[in-house]
């Protein structure tokens, strides 16, 4: 007698909780080969609004955590991901149509990337900050600080490695994130939310919305309490013009990380390449503090 399997409900991840979309909508997710995988919540603009609120509430505390602590938390996320490696391999294989070996390599790369960024948390200030030898009796120091709340359009193609590669650099430095997952390959993102929830990451630091990117991304881009936006995931979305998102972002002068462009077309970057510091730098502000030196 065959056992009826217990199917998982895929929900949003906002403020450390797993709500359904306030819109009550869901959509069908299929594998690369077209088989039904799951029904997932279809996030709306109001879910974006709630997620931004959660991210804003969490931001001050997360930025105030010690860099050592943030590094430990990111490493803990990597540990838990490693523990659920099998599940992620299955989900990535189904989503991206990879062989088990290919999917395993991708998941391992994602874990390693988390570890890499975990090690950066307490080095960024040393590498990007410095004393400035001003011409006067002043102590003058420039330090990088997190920009604040960052909207992230996660890549449409690479459902876990790409996702981790865009989220980790945002939160490593003390930003909080509102992430629009890959629209067609959202399951690893939802599972990653579960990893975040069971790690030591404070609620609200990462918020994940599964949704039609073209529908909700404009709400994220125009939201005035979002300080920056990563448009990486605009690549490969048919009915979305990333330049329009950038224009909307100008209303409160969000910092914008543009998608990779090749031949005038936005494309998904090669996630196997050395990430460099570009994504860390993109969501940092330089603060310069002066103080007189005297007796």
């Amino acid at each position: 007698m065959s056992r009826l399997d217990v199917r998982k409900t895929y929900k949003l991840y906002i403020g450390g909780a797993f709500p359904r979309s306030e819109s009550g909508r869901s959509y069908e997710v299929v594998s690369a080969s077209g088989e039904f995988l799951a029904n997932v919540s279809m996030g709306s603009r109001k879910d974006v609004r709630d997620a931004v609120g959660a991210a804003r509430s969490a931001q001050r505390g997360w930025a105030a955590a010690t860099a050592y602590n943030r590094g430990q938390v990111l490493y803990r996320v990597a540990e838990i991901l490693e523990g659920r490696r099998g599940q992620f391999v299955d989900e990535v294989a189904a989503a991206e149509g990879l062989t088990p070996r290919g999917a395993a390599a991708s998941v391992e790369a994602a874990i390693d990337r988390l570890v890499w960024y975990a090690g950066w948390t307490d080095k960024v200030a040393q590498v990007l900050g410095n004393l400035n030898p001003v011409a006067g009796p002043f102590f003058n120091v420039s330090v990088p600080e997190p920009t604040g709340v960052v909207g992230v359009l996660a890549p449409q193609g690479s459902s876990l490695l790409g996702l981790v590669s865009v989220v980790a650099p945002v939160i490593a430095t003390g930003n909080t994130a509102v992430v629009l997952s890959s629209a067609d390959r959202p399951l690893p993102a939802v599972t990653l939310g579960e990893v975040f929830a069971t790690s030591d990451l404070p609620g609200g630091v990462v918020n994940i919305i599964t949704a039609r990117t073209a529908e909700v991304a404009p709400w994220l881009a125009s939201h005035r309490d979002v300080n920056a936006i990563d448009l990486t995931g605009a690549a490969g979305v048919d009915d979305l013009v990333w330049g329009e998102l950038e224009a909307a972002a100008a209303d409160n002068l969000k910092r914008v990380l543009r998608p990779t462009v090749a031949g005038n077309v936005a494309v998904e970057p090669d996630w196997s390449a050395d990430p460099g510091l570009g994504r860390l730098r993109a969501f940092l502000e330089t603060k310069t503090v002066w103080h007189p030196k005297g007796i």
């Binding site: 006067g136 009796p137 002043f138 007189p292 030196k293 005297g294 007796i295």
Partner: protein
């Protein structure tokens, strides 16, 4: 076109001309709002004064130093500065002849121009007071004497008081005392206070200038505290330096002291004078000080009654500049007397 300084409408200075130590202590208790004047109370008060940021203070002094004072205002400032000089000789090698010569200079600063104003005072050691007094007669040029074991102040209180009384008896119009810097730096504020108050009492109606010796106090915080302590103890003037310690008077130190007398008048209604001494040699420097007096303390201090320069060489430079303004030609050292 300029914003005019309006002088604050405060009661005119009413410092008691003859003080007793008990009276000074009572006034101090009143200012501090305490029933007993203890070192603890003094410490709390002095350390509760706002701090002085060195860099900001020096920047402000430098900025005042960039004022450009030309033509008629320069002529006016030169005459004012001459009238503010305490023409000073404080050497071990001082003789009756030297002091008489200096007094003659005070009486006739520029033999070529009888309209030249006279300096405010001649400043000498106590044993030269009688000589100076005799030479200056009733000219109006006052005699100031350094006292209290000048310049170090390292003597017993009895000796300091005797030194003071000696100079007063000899006819000094003004006494320039030194504070006990050792006591100040070791936090014995009450000791410093009592010594000043006792010297003040010993002065009778002779004007008392209190030398802080800012070069040994080092920090502007200390200068501000010492200035307040000296005013609390009854000093009529606060003075930067003996001239025997480097650095002597500087613009920023004087700035802190001018702020102190300004604040003191606001707090108590009593006006106290300021005397930078030592190291002021040129007209340019003197005018910078006057600008600072005008813009920081205000117009009421722009008078020899409330501001003095302790100097010797400064007078000749002022005279040279004065000659230049009168004749239109640059003058030279052969046209001023060396005394």
């Amino acid at each position: 076109m300029t914003v005019r300084t309006t002088s604050p409408s405060l009661p005119s200075p009413a410092a008691p001309s003859v003080a007793t130590t008990a009276g000074t202590v009572a006034h101090a208790r009143d200012v501090l709002g305490v029933s007993r004047l203890t070192n603890h109370a003094l410490t709390g008060w002095l350390h509760g004064l706002p701090g002085v940021d060195q860099v900001g203070c020096e920047a402000r002094a430098a900025s005042l130093g960039t004022r450009s004072v030309k033509t008629t205002s320069k002529a006016w400032a030169i005459d004012l500065a001459i009238g503010m000089i305490d023409l000073t000789t404080l050497e071990g090698a001082d003789t009756v002849g030297k002091v008489r010569s200096l007094c003659a200079k005070a009486l006739v600063p520029d033999p070529l121009d009888p309209s030249t104003p006279r300096p405010a005072a001649v400043c000498v050691y106590g044993d030269m007071v009688a000589t100076a007094k005799e030479a200056l007669g009733d000219s109006g040029v006052r005699v100031a004497a350094v006292a209290t074991a000048f310049p170090s102040g390292r003597a017993s209180l009895a000796v300091k008081l005797a030194d003071t009384r000696d100079a007063v008896r000899a006819g000094a119009d003004e006494i320039d005392m030194v504070i006990d810097r050792g006591a100040f730096l070791s936090g014995e504020y009450l000791t410093v206070f009592n010594q000043i108050a006792d010297v003040k009492a010993a002065c009778g109606d002779t004007h008392l200038k209190v030398i802080l010796e800012t070069g040994e106090l080092v920090t502007y915080d200390n200068v501000r505290r010492a200035a307040h302590l000296a005013m609390l103890a009854g000093g009529d003037f606060i003075k930067t330096s003996t001239g025997k310690v480097a650095p002597a008077a500087t613009l920023p130190v004087t700035l802190v002291m001018l702020e102190a007398v300004r604040d003191w008048r606001e707090l108590t209604g009593v006006q106290v004078g300021v005397k930078p001494a030592g190291g002021i040699r040129t007209t340019k420097d003197a005018i910078k000080y006057l600008v600072m007096v005008s813009e920081v303390a205000g117009e009421p201090w722009l008078s020899p009654d409330w501001f003095r320069f302790g100097a010797s060489g400064l007078l000749n430079d002022l005279l040279l500049q004065r000659q230049k303004l009168v004749t239109g030609a640059y003058s030279g050292p052969d046209y001023v007397t060396i005394d």
